[in-house]
């Protein structure tokens, strides 16, 4: 997700090409071409410019709706509705061929990854592994990071593993059971004994009211992530 205000212009984008199955956008105002995954202009008058980053999450609708009951949802454009994908689009796409392949770490081109570009490095996590583990405590560069699976068992968010006023990276634990004592609580930390929800906010305990800093996670296929992030490391792989 990117901002559209660049160099004093408000840009309007169209899908206008493809670069190894990651699409290129053209802006109407200058005719520059922008890479979708990086938000960077790769050709044209604005070449080298960077779109401002906007934080987003990929979530299940039910999870999002419970967090944002007053939110609004993009509606179908009636004339194109018949062309829309089924809801398991990303799973179906796993069978589609790729034009590039990186046979590394035993990964297949269409394996779904959760990619993080932060703290000066790139790190990827196999989506299925994160879903299995439910809570991943890792480092991205030198920074401790948490990946948390939501109660729906499919949505994932990442946070900086730092609590204001607590030295070092606190240990977090997944709350056992489906019915936590505090509604919405998913995690507990060992440093303050607080309970934390999927939005990364403490809902009980000493830290109640505090929130962890979100870290952007990009759900992407391995071939695409690796192509645009050649220096990536992978969680659990040497």
């Amino acid at each position: 997700m990117w901002g559209r205000d660049v160099a004093g212009l408000r840009l309007t984008f169209h899908l206008a090409g493809i670069n190894n199955q990651n699409f290129l956008m053209r802006d109407e105002q200058t005719g520059s071409y922008w890479q979708q995954i990086s938000g960077k202009a790769v050709s044209g008058p604005l070449k080298g410019s960077q779109l401002p980053f906007v934080h987003s999450d990929e979530l299940n609708f039910g999870t999002w709706q419970s967090e944002e009951p007053l939110g609004t949802v993009l509606q179908d454009a009636a004339q194109y509705r018949s062309g829309y994908a089924p809801k398991d689009w990303d799973v179906r796409m796993q069978r589609a061929p790729t034009v590039i392949d990186f046979r590394e770490h035993g990964l297949k081109g269409r394996d779904l990854m959760l990619g993080i570009q932060a703290f000066g490095v790139r790190r990827a996590f196999l989506y299925d592994q994160v879903i299995r583990e439910k809570l991943v405590q890792d480092h991205v560069g030198a920074e401790p990071v948490l990946l948390v699976v939501g109660a729906d068992g499919q949505s994932v968010r990442a946070f900086r593993d730092r609590i204001a006023g607590v030295r070092g990276a606190p240990d977090f634990y997944r709350m056992p059971g489906d019915q936590p004592a505090t509604p919405g609580a998913l995690l507990m930390d060992a440093s303050t004994g607080s309970e934390w929800n999927f939005q990364g906010c403490a809902v009980s305990g000493k830290a109640k009211g505090a929130c962890l800093e979100p870290v952007e996670v990009l759900k992407d296929y391995w071939f695409d992530w690796r192509n645009f992030n050649p220096s990536t490391t992978i969680y659990g792989k040497k």
């Binding site: 901002g3 309007t12 609004t72």
Partner: protein, 167 residues
Amino acid sequence: MTGELRRTRGISVAILSGCLALSLICVVYPFYVIWPFRAQGARELAIALVVMQFRSAATLVSVAAAVAALIFYWRAQPRRWRRALATAGAVFVCVLAALARVNIYELMFHPDDRPSFAAASGTKLDKDEKVIAVKIGGTARAYPIRNISYHHVINDVVDKVAIVATY
């Protein structure tokens, strides 16, 4: 006089051929490079994008030069079938100029120029449908993936911030 006509014909044919070649390159090369079922090299992609940047102007110049060359050719060439062949070449240059103004991807992937939004409570989506969610200021918005995976690009404004949602 005959030598003069022969030289005019030769120059006209050379210009027409050059225009045809230039226009073909402007249309075919980017189409070949940015073909979804082949890998794109960094250098060829950069060249293709530069060609796309300038091909509207280049093909316009090509059309003007081809038409001028055709006029001179007609004056210097009495044989009908050769005139017809030169005319076909010039018409092809015009067709290529029109094609150079079309981006096949912008035709294939229909943009949602007027995205509309409704309250989450009134939206019929399954609980397990995936959405891309954004919150800016106090405004939360969700883009269902089954929708945005078709349009791929949604130009939007959320809480007065212009954004582009992509998938």
